[in-house]
């Protein structure tokens, strides 16, 4: 289905440059026009990032002059330390660092839970003869599209019933639940290409579901694990809605602290601190993106239905 198609196309994209080497030729006028146009689009994409970075290093004095694109006359790190240590939400001024640590605490359990459940499920559906696998996968495919609002209230009641509402665990569990359908389909699409011969050899050897998984399948899953990991890290870190509805007052992730302090702030707005806080929130996924770009592209095309 969508995930399958996107993955197949991604595979073709990776293989093509080797199959059809580009002929060398001189730069033509049309090429220059295309490059100029693309560069202008790139500038449009880059401008917001540039403006935020520049603003976060300016003094408020310079910001009130209004030159949004100019470089800082005096570079200052004060907004950054203020954002980290002293950003205010409502009456509290604990900085965005509390949100950072909450987000980290949410991230690890949700990664562990979601990757664990969905890789085992994907493996069982792909390589073991489960009679209702086809219809179950169709149901998962449907579940991946369900709007969050329709399952939100009962989940809040369930989570409160278990007694974890307002903790990082509630947010982590809900992340794992919501990502399960999509991740399972991605894992299943990856595992189904494992050769039959390999599986039957493994079955002869041990025949145990869990031993085959731990000794053969898991060591082969490096690539897909990285792709899924990136997909999950960015979506959990960038999430706002689940944190808002399940975190209560006790567990507010970084995006929530940021939004609360900027949107609900009264009185004078300190733009440089706001922008530094925004950058601090954006840095972890951006680092992942710039470090592992290739996997990131695979992740989002495989996880297309999540966007």
């Amino acid at each position: 289905m969508t995930a399958t198609i996107a993955r197949d196309e991604g595979g073709a994209a990776a293989a093509l440059p080797f199959a059809y080497p580009r002929r060398k030729r001189r730069i033509k006028g049309s090429s220059i026009a295309i490059l100029v146009f693309l560069s202008m689009c790139a500038a449009f994409m880059a401008i917001p990032l540039y403006v935020v970075i520049v603003t976060s290093f300016k003094t408020m004095q310079q910001i009130t002059l209004g030159e949004i694109f100019s470089l800082p006359t005096t570079w200052t790190l004060e907004p950054w330390s203020k954002a980290w240590n002293g950003l205010c939400t409502g009456l509290e001024c604990n900085g965005i660092k509390t949100g950072f640590f909450t987000s980290v605490k949410i991230l690890f359990p949700s990664l562990f839970l979601s990757l664990g459940i969905s890789s085992v499920t994907g493996y069982a559906l792909a390589l073991w003869n489960v009679r209702w696998a086809g219809s179950f996968m169709f149901i998962l495919f449907m579940c991946a599209f369900v709007p969050f609002q329709i399952i939100m209230i009962p989940l809040i009641i369930l989570v409160s019933g278990v007694g974890i509402y307002g903790t990082v665990w509630a947010i982590a569990v809900v992340h794992a639940i919501l990502s399960m359908p999509l991740l399972t389909l991605i894992f299943r699409n990856f595992y189904k290409d494992i050769p039959r011969e390999l599986m039957s050899a493994a079955m002869m050897d041990s025949g145990s579901f869990w031993r085959v998984y731990l000794e053969i399948i898991l060591p082969m899953s490096g690539n897909i694990m990285v792709v899924v990991l990136i997909l999950m890290i960015t979506s959990v870190w960038n999430d706002y809605l689940i944190g808002l509805t399940f975190g209560g007052f006790g567990a507010q992730p970084m995006t929530l602290i940021l939004a609360n302090s900027v949107i609900t702030s009264r009185g004078e707005i300190i733009y440089n601190v706001d922008m530094a806080a925004a950058l601090l929130t954006a840095v972890p996924p951006l680092v992942v993106y710039f470090a592992l770009g290739r996997f990131f592209v695979q992740g989002i095309t495989a996880g297309a239905i999540k966007g």
Partner: protein
């Protein structure tokens, strides 16, 4: 015994996933649908008054803010569709030129790694009338340039559309690029031999060949629009007034601010219906594609 165990293990391993599907998806959806027919307020109330089962829906569609939300949904969908067009143009140009492909791809895609909250806040800053882009335009001589879109109910949605196009066009570019690369390159040599202009090749051959990719993009975009919440919160928080509410924002607001479970459930059910309507063509087309592929093999 060993054989039987090996049959039981996969079923056992599937239990968590099946339980999640049954409880957190099926059960929860049915519960919400049920709640939308009750008079629940702050706490769930399980009695349905047969004379008034449609009360929440009646209230919903009598609510002007809900009508605004539905209108905004359409405006946002039509406006952000530009991201698909831009994505295709960028992908076609990158694929055609191939120089510096890596750099352009990196630059066009990075907004996707940035959360919508940050995206919204950044654009909010750029839209700032006295210190942002508007001020810059005034200073370089465009005295009448108006870029304070977020302050006016008529233009606030356009501000949100601009930010979401900025955020998502790289994503559609990546999908389109994957689609373009899977097209047989012999088309290009054939077209070159015939001396057909490259833009005509795109319009008359490539676009029709990629109609399934376009459809996928359109469906993903519509589903994303139905879910639009974070970007609204970050850019306008629904304002000015209630001019930028969306159904997703409405449903959350009905639950968390108005504390009305029945009303929020009704809004969520309508969101689900909209999602299904968008989703149906995808299933039909996928089934059609699979059948065609099977027919081709047979």
């Amino acid at each position: 015994m060993a054989v039987r165990w090996s049959r039981a293990a996969p079923q056992l391993a599937l239990t968590p996933a099946v339980a999640i599907t049954l409880i957190a998806f099926f059960g929860a959806i049915l519960w919400t649908i049920y709640m939308s027919f009750t008079k629940s307020r702050r706490f769930p109330d399980y009695t349905i008054d047969p004379a008034e089962w449609g009360r929440q829906y009646g209230r919903l569609f009598a609510d002007d803010v809900w009508t605004t939300s539905l209108k905004n949904l359409i405006v946002l969908a039509v406006g952000s569709a530009l991201a698909i067009v831009i994505g295709f143009i960028l992908a076609a140009l990158i694929n055609h030129e191939k120089r510096a492909e890596g750099i352009f791809r990196t630059v066009f895609l990075y907004p996707l790694a940035v959360s919508l909250i940050v995206t919204g806040l950044v654009w909010r800053w750029m839209f700032n009338p006295s210190l942002g882009i508007e001020n810059f335009l005034h200073e370089i001589g465009f005295k009448h340039a108006a870029f304070n879109w977020l302050a006016e109910p008529q233009t606030a949605m356009f501000g949100i559309i601009l930010a979401s196009i900025w955020q998502s066009s790289g994503f559609y570019m990546a999908l389109m690029l994957a689609g373009l690369k899977s097209i047989n390159s012999e088309i290009w040599s054939a077209a070159r031999l015939d001396g057909v202009a490259f833009w005509r090749v795109y319009l008359e051959i490539i676009v029709p060949m990629m109609k399934f990719t376009f459809l996928t993009c359109a469906i993903l975009l519509s589903l994303g629009v139905v879910k639009a919440f974070d970007i609204i919160v970050a850019m306008t928080n629904g304002g000015p007034g209630t001019s930028t509410w969306t159904p997703a924002y409405f449903a959350i607001n009905a639950y968390s601010i108005r504390s009305n479970i029945g009303f929020a459930s009704a809004a969520a059910v309508i969101m689900l219906v909209i999602t299904l309507v968008i989703f149906l063509p995808l299933i039909v087309v996928t089934a059609w594609q699979i059948r065609r592929r099977q027919a081709a093999l047979a």
